[in-house]
């Protein structure tokens, strides 16, 4: 029974991939193996559209957000977990409370604010607001709290500064959790739709999600091309999932339990 349910669950994705290899008149067929397999849908997507450009935009935006977020969040998490300073609990509570604010709810004022900052239709507008989220800080803080204090004490006796402790001790120790978070952030930003939709209308800045969504509005009858585009967009996320599924699952578990 488990096997049947599992197969039913992945059937839509299998069907999507199969439809991307089918010629247009076969798209809706219930057969999962194309009768006349073709690569023509993919050729069309990459030649009739600047799809490479959209892919590059997505890679650049998601990659930059991931790197900067890991850097900022690991610094903040380290300080909140391992350094003593007045107002620490209060600051942590304040950061933690932003956890409950979700993007759709603040999108109107956020857009007005970012517009005032002159970041509409720019990479900065796509990237900077996406960096900050309490989830990453929270997970890293939890991790740093668990590191034995002796390492830090020994480093202080050796005369290490706080940045040295962060850079030479904490960062190398947190490599596994940073890897898990990197996958998590990259996926979330590669898949993000509502913010890029709001902040860009310049086609040169389109990310892949915007591209396939508007592709769909332009060519609503050509489902074979749309399925090919969807497969291309889903492929990097599926590959990342198959390589890093253990890390991804661990970070979800931690978010629920710690």
């Amino acid at each position: 029974m488990i096997a049947v349910l599992a197969l039913l669950t992945v059937a839509p994705l299998v069907w999507m991939i199969s439809a991307s290899f089918k010629p247009g008149n076969e798209t809706f067929g219930p057969n999962l193996i194309p009768l006349r397999p073709t690569l023509e849908n993919f050729t069309y997507v990459f030649t009739a559209l600047p799809f490479w450009r959209y892919m590059l935009n997505s890679f650049f935006v998601a990659g930059t957000v991931t790197l900067v977020a890991l850097w900022f969040h690991s610094m903040a998490g380290f300080a909140l977990a391992r350094l003593r300073f007045p107002g620490r609990e209060l600051l942590f509570l304040a950061i933690f409370s932003t956890f409950l604010v979700s993007l759709p709810v603040i999108i109107v004022p956020l857009f007005i604010l970012v517009r005032q900052l002159g970041m509409v239709n720019s990479y900065a507008g796509l990237i900077i607001p996406a960096i900050f989220n309490a989830f990453g800080i929270f997970l890293l803080r939890q991790f740093y709290i668990g590191i034995p204090g002796e390492l830090q004490e020994a480093a202080i006796i050796d005369g290490a500064g706080y940045f040295g402790i962060y850079w030479n001790i904490m960062l190398p120790l947190s490599r596994p959790i940073l890897a898990a978070l990197a996958v998590f952030f990259f996926l979330a930003n590669w898949n993000a739709f509502i913010w890029p939709l709001t902040i860009t209308n310049d086609q040169n800045l389109w990310v892949v999600q915007i591209a396939i969504a508007s592709f769909h509005q332009q060519y609503s009858a050509s489902w074979n091309y749309i399925m090919a585009g969807s497969t291309v967009v889903a492929l990097p996320t599926l590959i990342l999932f198959f390589i890093f599924q253990r890390q991804l699952v661990e970070s979800i578990k931690t978010s629920g339990l710690k």
Partner: protein, 318 residues
Amino acid sequence: MNVSLDAPSTSTKRPAAGRARQGLNHSQREALAAYLFILPDALGLLIFVALPMIFSLSLGFFSVNGFGGFQFVGLKNYQRMLVDPLFLKSFWVTFVYVLILVPALYVTGLGLALLVNRRMPFIGVFRSMFFVPNVVSLVVVALTWQVMLIDKVGFVNRLLQMIGLSGYSWLGDPRTALYSVLFVTVWFLMGYYMIIFMSGLQEIPKEYYDAARIDGAGPWSVFFRITLPLLRPTSFFVLLVSIVSAVAGSQAFDLIYVMTRGGPANSTSLVIFYIYQQAFQFNNYGYAAAMASFLVLILLVITVTLFALTKGGRFHFT
């Protein structure tokens, strides 16, 4: 969330030898370093999360034109909300959406977790198969399901015809469109909640089950007397996250934008989608912000109630 908000005392214990280095103002130096480490994130969260949040509560009292000119209009936006049939309709649609989605996610998530929380060949593969929809983008999910559900020719209808049922326009009929979106949302999210429930199940001490087996308890009484009560912290987390994300439309927005655009006949127009339309299609930023702050109020009431009911979300095995 069953989380302790206090930093543990272990992180602050440090021998006097380390603290005495260079004697002067050591704790001040530590504090300064800490503030510098936190500064980038704190500033970013302040500007891009906290400020918009506060801004949204006041923006509802203004009329904003497309070029950023503000005009104070008092309660006008809020009064308009009460008599706007489209807003009231979207409020009702959101209510139905949350009311169905939250229990559906709880049951499917827990059900799958119980199903795969065992040792058998290929169980890891099956777990991955249940989770994999969650890594694909919602735009791709929406497009794929739209093709599968399309009028008479879609994959789903072809399958129904093969077993003798007639095809149906699932997304084209106001009576079924919302349920179709709900179905896709559950399909997308159930694997995520399965993982959360799995880690909850693994936290339950084995001794409880052994004791129950010795007492001769059946599977149902084990589930209701042991599993469900001991799963309370996980249940709290799942309810909190699923309610908040359902009300805030975290998944629904992308799906609805691509699949139905709020239609047909506004049957899938959630509040969050209507807010977006008012703001970015009709440039009614002030009115949109008024509706958003109403949503914030509802989210706040739900969160506070959940935390109050569970005494701060803290649970202990007793």
